[in-house]
């Protein structure tokens, strides 16, 4: 048998064996991984409204308890009206409500944005005034660690707290990531609509700003109903 055929045969068999083993491992562990991802999402929802710190490690049970006690998922249509889950259509959007003492404190919007290298997914919580951001978290992204990857860090996400999605006149302007420090780059009247950028990651900031604007625009009818006090 010639050397070439031997090499090709060896490579083929090795690939087959390795591929098979990996498929087995991946399908066998999928259930556990899926559970972890779900748990992590719930944790991020809790983090966005400040019910959890994110630093401390808590048991699965605490997360589930906190979640089922405070958070409720609903669906809304494009006009911002709540639709029952059985009748939800293709264009309806999910919202999570955070209520305490029988009153809705904040609503949480899932964020899906483009990043520089892949999709960025997270949550943004907005207070029941329909204008003030109470928290922002990221649970999945593919940005460069140390640069764009900083979006998953607490220092970056903390900047969102207390910022507004409205300008001084009460018009919707969304929230954007500044190029550099907000204090130096943005005029004072607009500072509440911007958060500090990450140095070395202006592209990530650009994409995330666009993604946030798009998502917030989609949810704007719902936010407006909060501002007009139509939902209690």
């Amino acid at each position: 048998m010639s050397n070439y055929i031997k090499s090709i045969l060896f490579a083929a068999v090795l690939s087959l064996v390795c591929g098979g083993l990996l498929t087995l491992a991946s399908t066998g562990l999928k259930e556990y991984q899926f559970k972890n991802i779900e748990l992590d999402k719930n944790k991020n929802i809790l983090k966005s409204v400040g019910l959890m710190d994110g630093e401390d490690s808590v048991s699965q049970k605490t997360v589930e308890q906190l979640y089922s006690k405070n958070i409720r998922q609903i669906w809304i249509n494009v006009d911002g009206k709540i639709v029952p889950e059985q009748r939800k259509g293709k264009n309806d959007l999910p919202v999570y409500l955070f209520s305490q003492q029988e009153k809705i404190q904040a609503y949480i919007i899932p964020i899906h944005s483009r990043g520089l290298w892949g999709k960025i997914s997270g949550y943004m919580a907005i207070k029941n005034d329909g204008a003030t951001i109470s928290g922002f978290t990221v649970y999945s992204h593919q940005e460069t660690p140390g640069l764009g990857g900083e979006i998953e860090k607490k220092w970056f996400q903390k900047n969102f707290e207390g910022k507004k999605i409205l300008d001084d006149q009460g018009n919707f302007v969304s929230i954007a990531i500044a190029k550099g420090s907000v204090k130096e780059r943005i005029p004072e009247s607009r500072q509440k609509n911007f958060v500090d950028g990450i140095s070395g990651a202006s592209m990530t900031g650009k994409f995330l700003s666009a993604g946030l604007k798009q998502t917030l625009t989609e949810y704007e009818p719902f936010s407006e109903r909060y501002r007009k006090n139509e939902i209690k």
Binding site: N3, F10, S26, L29, Q33, L39, D40, P145
Partner: protein, 205 residues
């Protein structure tokens, strides 16, 4: 024959101190900088790397007589990549938080030069048992440095170990401050540099 004179003993213990992959051969520095801010990630990374190194050495040594010379690097990388992806999947299933913190660095074990280096220079020419020992020895050598650097960085950088505060509040009240440099990559460089210096001085005798 004394146990310290056997080949197996040497193969296992030499890389832990004398020819340590990081401080002796200066290999695998990238991950040593990236994952040592906290002790927890350093330990998990060490375990993952030791696992991959031990089994890649063992498997490649078992196949060493059949691997065609001209595609040996591809074969080695295939074996290593399979093990790394497997380790990554297991971490994602059972240690999700830590696997998120380690992010790409588990996947980057594939490109860690320690592993390909051991496969090329040792496993291809030695029997399976010794290769396995060599793999574990080198893995522990790497782990030893990683954990030492992890301890230094978390202790001086954050005043914690494994996430628990070890420097009492009274110290902070008295004006003690965490060393910010230790949290950044240069802190790891300095720590590794000091370890290399220490090791060179001690083993010169």
């Amino acid at each position: 024959m004394k146990i310290t004179k056997t080949k197996a003993f040497n193969v296992f213990f030499k890389p832990i101190w004398e020819s340590n992959p990081i401080s002796g051969q200066i290999l695998g520095i990238c991950s040593a900088l990236a994952v040592t801010v906290q002790l927890k990630t350093a330990v998990v990374m060490s375990l993952a790397l030791t696992f991959v190194l031990a089994f890649s050495n063992l498997l490649i040594s078992l196949m060493r007589k059949f691997i065609p010379r001209n595609i040996r690097i591809i074969v080695e990388l295939t074996v290593i990549a399979t093990l790394v992806i497997f380790a990554d999947q297991v971490l994602k299933a059972f240690l999700y938080d830590i696997s998120k913190q380690l992010s790409v660095f588990v996947g980057l074990i594939i490109t860690n030069c320690i592993i390909l280096g051991r496969a090329e220079t040792y496993a291809l020419g030695n029997p399976p048992f010794h290769s396995l020992l060599d793999g574990i020895g080198n893995g522990l050598g790497y782990s030893q440095i990683l954990i030492t650097v992890g301890v230094l960085r978390e202790f001086f950088g954050a005043g914690k170990l494994f996430g628990f505060q070890v420097i009492p509040d009274t110290f902070y009240a008295a004006g003690y401050e965490n060393m910010g440099l230790m949290v950044l990559a240069p802190g790891a460089f300095i720590a590794i540099g000091l370890i290399v210096w220490l090791q060179k001085t001690v083993s010169k005798e």
